[in-house]
Amino acid sequence: MRTVIAPLEPVVERQLAALDGPLCEVALGYVARLRMEPYLGHLLRRGLLGSYDVRAVYFDQESRPRELLGEHRGPLRLASDDPSAGPRYRVVYRIAEAPMAGVRMVRVLAVGEGHPSPGSEGAYRDAERLLRDQIKSDQERRKR
């Protein structure tokens, strides 16, 4: 089965462009890594994203997505650490395994802060909005 990263949606490209340069590089590194490790992210279980079996990879500026092994596999959080002290950013994505087509499709739904300060939306909300917008545009297309 072939693993394909779907072309990035314009809204996701804008989210990447809004990140600082090094953060954007790290995010793109994780998108590229999903070709090798599509199940890297943890499964979300709640709400619309949970019903779609959407996944999320956590990252920060110090993350090294291209280092698969070794001492820099990624930031670790110990049980004694503050839960809010982990990586702030997320790549939110969905995998569709299509055995008849022979394709494992990885679609990036959003990139950005997971739980930003009040006043901004965050990557999970952005991912939900993309899914809802696509469903609505399909409904409108059928009505035409």
């Binding site: 089965m1 394909v4 008849m100 087509a101 394709v103 494992r104």
Partner: protein, 100 residues
Amino acid sequence: MTLTVIRGGRYDRLMAMLPSPARAMTLEEIQAERDDVLEALREGGVILVHSNELDCFLGVLTRDPSVLGDAELAQQIEAGHLPPLDVLLQDPGVDETQPA
């Protein structure tokens, strides 16, 4: 060691390799019980879907991965959210090294 007791009918269905649980429901019932429906589908179950007036059998609701992924891919391409499959597979980033 962990022992799991599987009783009567469920054991028979598992041995027969049939999806379980299998239910017949109307659209209204599915909407009203959607959390339970989602859980049943995630367990490998199926729902035979009928119109609210029970005058039409619509089809089968499933999250069987062998159906779900192809259905989603087809829908995304038909709706224009993804390019056609042959264009997608020309992407130089396609990785063919992974086993199925």
